[in-house]
């Protein structure tokens, strides 16, 4: 990058130099140069047989055009011939005068050019201030080293350029760094606040504003989900309550009671859904500081399973708990409610897909540094294609920023939430199934 920049500068410099030099020489050194005038005068000046000097018309014209004057110094130093010579110009020249005049290329402040003739020295003077002359003398070694010096200067220039470049780049980076961090934070769904100085201030303000807007929208969505799930709970309590009462009413006909049971079962599904939505929304927004504590897995599993068994509602799906000998003291660092929710979801998943009933077995084992919680049923299972599709869906949901956002595909949130929760705890899930041979979900969690 820097090398390209340096090369570009050199090329541009070279081009400009050529251009200017060409233009200048065109303007001043072609027809118009003092040398042409001098040569014209030289050619035009001749001495007749009689010893008189004549300047042909060409010569005079050449002088007139430039307002120049001319004189010829003979070998004795006297002016042998002159044309339009101003008064302040001496009429005779000592060798010293000639030497000094030639050195400074001027006579009495008139820029002067000299031409060596057989019969003397022709001097052509131009109006004051028209030409600038400097005679320079350097040691031969200096000239010999000149390319080196040029190189040196060029190298130093390059160095300065590089430092400037590096400083500028560094400043840009230090200014851009926070912006990149902020954008990263935004894309991960975190809040970003940027206080930049200087040119980038506005960008910083905009990003902060954007973050604010996103945050507001997120908060609004979270509140909305919370609000809806809250408002559904009271009417749902009543639907469940009365459906349950009808289902248990011995005075009602069997058909009515069966219908009421359907209402109750569907109501319970809505209940699960609402809880899932709420959990998903919580995972999205309150997850960052996970409420971690040491969770004794056997204890947690026992309370989850016992709650199901004690509810006595579900005779179609008997639940069993099997704790491996080596897992009796398994402790994980986790949010107890979330892990409980994950296990409940896995159990609910088994029930949901086996409406005609199945046994559900919850097992806990320890392998290496991991605790394995497995929820397996002996129900209908699923085909290889469906299993692959489910896995793909879980993978898709993993890349989605929001768990609530992956709602709406075929089966609600159940296993997606299990996956999210387990992954938030540094674990992973795996699912297995074969048609007619049941379905199992295994939650693998790092031991504390």
């Amino acid at each position: 990058m820097f090398v390209a920049l340096a090369l570009l500068i050199v090329m541009v410099d070279f081009f400009l130099y050529t251009l200017i030099a060409y233009r200048e020489s065109n303007e001043h050194y072609n027809d118009d140069s003092p040398a042409t005038a001098v040569r014209a005068v030289d050619a035009a000046l001749s001495r007749g047989e009689d010893g008189a000097w004549t300047l042909s018309e060409d010569g005079e014209q050449a002088l007139d055009e430039r307002g120049a004057w001319a004189l010829l110094v003979d070998e004795s130093g006297a002016v042998a011939w002159s044309q339009r010579v101003p008064d302040e110009v001496p009429r005779s020249f000592s060798p010293n005068d000639v030497a000094m005049a030639a050195h400074y290329a001027e006579i009495a402040d008139y820029p002067a050019f000299f031409w060596d003739r057989d019969d003397g020295l022709l001097v052509v003077g131009f109006p004051k201030g028209e030409y600038w002359h400097e005679s320079l003398t350097y040691p031969a070694s200096t000239i010999a080293n000149l390319p080196l010096y040029v190189l040196l200067v060029f190298a130093v220039d390059l160095g300065i350029l590089f430092v400037l470049y590096a400083v500028a780049r560094r400043r840009t980076q230090s200014a851009v760094g926070p912006i990149v961090d902020a954008l990263d934070a935004l894309s991960e769904g975190r809040a970003a606040e940027l206080n930049l100085k200087g040119d980038l201030r506005e960008i910083g303000q905009r990003i902060t504003e954007t973050s604010g807007i996103i945050e507001q929208k997120d908060a609004a969505r979270a509140n909305w989900i919370r609000g809806v799930s809250h408002d559904i709970r009271t009417p749902l309590s009543m639907i469940l309550g009365y459906a349950d009462a009808i289902a248990a009413d011995e005075g009602a006909s069997d058909d009515v009671r069966a219908d009421a049971q359907v209402i109750r079962a569907q109501g319970l599904k809505i209940k699960d859904l609402v809880t899932d939505l709420n959990t998903a929304s919580k995972l999205d927004y309150d997850m960052q500081p996970l409420d971690l504590e040491r969770v004794h897995l056997p204890r947690l599993l026992r309370s989850v399973v016992v709650e199901h068994v004690n509810s006595g509602l579900d005779e179609l799906h008997p639940l069993e708990l099997d704790l491996d000998e080596n897992a009796l003291d398994a402790v994980v660092l986790a949010d107890e409610r979330l892990i409980g929710r994950a296990v409940e979801n896995a159990i609910a998943n088994a029930r949901l897909h086996n409406e005609r009933g199945c046994r559900v077995q919850v097992t806990l084992a320890v392998r290496g540094e991991r605790a394995l919680v497995r929820v397996a049923d002996d129900g209908a299972g699923t085909s290889a294609e469906e299993l692959a599709e489910l896995k793909a869906r879980l993978a898709r949901a993993r890349t989605a920023r929001s768990a609530a956002g992956s709602y709406g595909e075929e089966h609600g949130l159940g296993l997606v939430l299990v996956d999210r929760i387990v992954r938030a705890h540094g674990g992973s899930i795996s699912i297995e199934s074969e048609p007619e041979r049941g379905f199992s979900v295994e939650l693998s969690l790092p031991l504390a």
């Binding site: 349950d244 009462a245 068994v309």
Partner: protein, 282 residues
Amino acid sequence: MALGGFGMVDEHLRDKRILVVDDERDLASMVAAILRGAGFARVDVAHSGEEALAALDGRPVRSRPANPQEHGGLRPAPSSRVTSSGNSTSCEHGASESAYQLFVLDVMMPGMDGFELLTRLRERPAYTRAPVVFLTAKDEPFDRVSGLSLGADDYIAKPFLPQELVLRATAVLRRCYAEESPLLELDACRVNLATAEVLRADGETALLTAKEHEILSVLARNAGRIVTIDSLCEACWGTSFGYENSLMAHIRRLREKIEANPSKPASLVTARGLGYKLVKRG
């Protein structure tokens, strides 16, 4: 149709006065109907914190004896004894004739919310320890913590099934008013929990140790339901860690005292891998 029959409520608990406070009138009526259906004879309803406090002062509350027209054909509770047991030494407070012995409070109410109502309740000498169950539509952990730290005895998250409500209310009442019903009728014996005496059907008697008594009390409060090993250990030792073997030893000795055949328990049943369940006679 009756909202009833969800587990039998112990005889001595049926006369407990219960106040249900919920701003959703229909839900409050339903909760009251469920409780009445389960056998609680004296259930009152209030629709705001202010109304509830007024009720405590003995001012008239909309006491709602089951009314067929108003409650969608709910039948009156089967046992509609309105007479009080007159036992004023119940639980941890001196309950007067008109005092409530259980509160079922909604958390989210306009004006005074459930938490505030509970705080106001606790300011009254008669209700400093009265059992309270929250009905909450929120299931945020914070709410649970704040509810329980204020001295609530339990909470029930909406939506709930009637069984759950009855079971929780009954469990809280059993815990709170345990000494009123010290006699535990089991298959092979009768246990007096007040004196820790076991009267066996074969005529022998035995005394329960402190731990055995504790375990049996916890199981009796949750009779018919599985109690996890962890809950039992927590009740006995304050922690669920490392006492499982001790618990098993205590259970074994307990069975020797209360079971006809300890190797084939009929009352103190094991739920494999989960915990234990006490099965009462009848």
